[in-house]
């Protein structure tokens, strides 16, 4: 069985702050990490490998620095790492990114493709389903449990707004996963050694035979017009007094905002 796990290197969003003077992002000292959901996607692939035997390939699109993320994935147990890197890929939105990933996945071939449910920087959750469409394979989003895997059949639980569904699919299939699915393993010392020496396979737009006007900025239907800082919340109010006084004050405040709304 061949498994491809799509990963993304992202800035740790929890550490990003806005400079109140200039209204710009301050990312000084903000670390780059593997998108947390993608670690669960990788773990899912590795667990299938442990159980049934499989070759696990990690795939990412990004600049040369993204190699770090791929090496980390290899240290956890991935067998092969592929970096899609080309100036032509710059400025890709979800459509162009998915197109590019799908082109590469077709070249590499896969039975199961795993993605995290979304990346924590963009939060779109679109690249997984769009990639499946370009590959013309089914997908199941928000997978929280894998119940059964066979050569050409998989049964999973997917998280829904009010509970979960049990869904089965033929293989090949693309799954996007949530954190609940598993606990990602730590890299072993041996894994780290392997990762250091591992060859990172690089693929360009030409190598995946991508249409020039479907990748990068040119291939992206959406454009960013501008970005801005979210409206600041009006000043906070610490309530004072005994527990009862605080609760009364809170009820008072809430009923006032209610009245303003009406």
């Amino acid at each position: 069985m061949k498994i491809i796990v799509c990963i993304k290197q992202v800035p740790d969003t929890a550490e990003i702050k806005i400079n109140p003077q200039t209204n710009t992002l301050m990312r000084e000292g903000v670390q780059s990490i593997i998108n947390p959901f993608d670690l669960h996607a990788l773990e899912a692939g590795l667990q299938i490998k442990d159980k049934l035997g499989a070759k696990v390939t990690v795939l990412t699109m990004g600049p040369p620095q993204a190699e770090t993320a791929l090496r980390e994935a290899v240290s956890m147990g991935a067998d092969e790492a592929v970096l899609l890197t080309d100036r032509a890929f710059a400025g890709a939105d979800t459509w162009a990114t998915s197109y590019t990933l799908a082109k590469a996945i077709k070249k590499l071939s896969a039975d199961i493709v795993f993605c995290g449910k979304q990346a924590i920087d963009g939060d779109t959750a679109q690249v997984g389903p769009e990639t499946a469409e370009f590959l013309n394979i089914p997908h199941i989003a928000y997978v929280r449990k894998i119940e059964e895997v066979k050569d050409n059949y998989i049964r999973v639980q997917r998280l829904m707004d009010e509970g979960y569904d049990v869904v089965e699919s033929s293989i090949p299939v693309l799954l996007t996963v949530v954190k609940e699915l598993n606990q990602p393993r730590m890299s072993s010392l041996k894994g780290k050694m392997t990762a250091k020496k591992a060859e990172i396979k690089k693929m360009s737009a030409a190598e995946i035979e991508a249409e020039e006007d479907c990748v990068g900025l040119k291939g992206s239907p959406t454009q960013v017009k501008n970005i801005f800082a979210p409206e600041k919340k009006t000043g906070r109010k610490m309530l004072e007094g005994t527990a009862e006084e605080q609760v009364n004050a809170l009820i008072q405040e809430l009923s006032m905002t209610r009245r303003e709304e009406n």
Binding site: T13, A14, I16, K17, T24, M26, R27, G62, P63, Q65, T85, R87, A90, G91, T94, W95, D123, Q126, G128, P129, E130, E133, P138, H139, I140, A141, Y142, L159, D161, E162, Y164, D165, V166, V167, S169, S170, E180, E212, D213, K218, S220, P221, Q223, V224, K225, I227, F228, A229, P230, K233, R236, K237, M238, L239, A243, V247, L250, I251, E253, L254
Partner: protein, 401 residues
């Protein structure tokens, strides 16, 4: 338009490097260089003291002249149903859809899969002009293949200019496939939509980086313009029981689904986990001390008509299931009222809830970072405060009847 560095002007001051949210600017041969990570967010443009970073004109081969867009007219809402009943997010979409179609002078259409005429009539009363109803049991369960095929086919035939769907589990799963198939842009999780008066494009506003920044996205050269909209952030249109419109019964043959739903399970817990649509969320963290604490939160959520959320710490301790988790690795929510009980306020939690309208923090520790984002802060023992709060709300409810 791509962003580039004018090498003659660049003084290698590196100011732009730290401003870039995507780490897309690196130093190469002593000059700033913009690499593949660039998302065209344009932050660096205003940051460069030398004005060395500029947008470069590039004519996209895909540019379609807007005259070709005249075929694309109406606004289409994907009306989601659950067990045949229209989900509340659909009424909100009709609210914003009505506003956009009025501004554009076009019709508001709704597509409803797997429901019936009485539900279709409701959509008209909430603002739709025409409802395309596919009353076929194949749509009663959600499968991406069947939904994608039906909606894509409808769009190809009816050419709406704008397509809106809820940013729900269903919408966020299959709408991307539709956009991929139609070779058009899709903006996820919008919190507001406006018409650009000059171009008539819609400007799609959405949070990114866990709500740390807002971005305005548009789709100039492709149609339709598609967006998923967060539940609960947009007001419904007025309900008008006398409103009339057209219901068109539609059929689609030869649908094939490669996935099959064999069971649909509502979460056993009695408390709602539908955090995306809840107006009030009562969330608990490590400060609860044990799983029993959530019983108290459930009670408060119940009297306030809300749902129960949790911090990662509480979920990791096994006090409550993952579907309740709010934050970077859980759900991103923006209810009217968010009550954080015994949650210290790690940034990973804050990014998941900081866009809530009103945040009430209850915590023993006056230094807890949760108070920095709180609208109202209460320093005290939640086991003392919450029962009082429940009692007071019940009293008020009693008076109001």
């Amino acid at each position: 338009m791509p962003i580039a560095v004018n090498k003659d002007k660049c003084t290698a001051c590196e100011t732009c490097l730290i401003s870039c949210p995507f780490e897309a600017i690196v130093m190469r041969e002593d000059k700033a260089f913009i690499n593949e990570y660039c998302n065209q967010c344009k932050v660096c443009l205003s940051v460069c003291p030398e004005g060395a970073i500029v947008e470069v004109e590039e004519i996209s081969q895909f540019t379609v002249h807007s005259s070709q867009f005249t075929d694309y007219k109406d606004v289409l809402v994907f009306a989601e149903q659950r067990n045949g009943k229209v989900a509340s997010v659909s009424y909100e979409l009709l609210g914003i859809g009505r506003k956009l179609s009025n501004e554009l002078g076009t019709k508001l259409l709704a597509i409803l899969l797997g429901s019936d005429e009485s539900e279709a009539r409701e959509l008209i009363k909430w603002g739709a002009d025409k409802v395309y109803l596919y009353n076929d049991p194949i749509f009663s369960q959600f499968n991406d293949d069947t939904y994608t095929e039906a909606v894509s086919k409808f769009i190809k035939e009816n050419k709406p200019a704008i397509v809106l769907a809820g940013a729900t589990s269903v919408g966020r799963s299959f709408i991307p496939r539709v956009a991929a198939r139609l070779r058009t842009g899709l903006t996820a999780d919008c919190t507001s939509l406006e018409i650009d008066n000059e171009t008539k494009n819609i400007l799609q506003i959405r949070p990114a980086f866990g709500g740390n920044i807002m971005a305005t996205i548009f789709c100039p050269d492709h149609r339709p313009q598609m967006a998923t909209v967060r539940p609960r952030v947009i007001k419904r249109a007025e309900y008008n029981a006398a409103r009339t419109g057209e219901i068109i019964n539609c059929k689609i043959d030869n649908l094939i689904s490669r996935t099959k739903v064999i069971d649909s399970v509502k979460e056993i817990s009695e408390i709602s986990v539908n955090l995306h649509e809840a107006e009030v969320i009562v969330a608990g963290g490590r400060g609860l001390g044990d799983a029993k604490g959530f019983k108290l939160l459930e009670e408060l959520a119940e009297v306030m008509g809300g749902a129960v959320g949790a911090s990662r710490a509480a979920v990791d301790k096994g006090w409550i299931s993952y579907s309740h988790q709010v934050g970077q690795t859980g759900k991103t929510v923006s209810p009217k009222i968010y009550i954080a009980c015994g949650i210290s306020g790690a940034v990973q939690h804050l990014v998941g809830m900081q866009s809530s309208d009103i945040i009430i923090a209850i915590n023993k520790n006056p230094e807890a970072p949760i108070f920095n984002v709180a609208t109202y802060g209460i320093v005290g023992d939640l086991y003392e405060i919450i029962p009082l709060l429940i009692k007071k709300i019940k009293e008020i409810k009693g008076i109001l009847g």
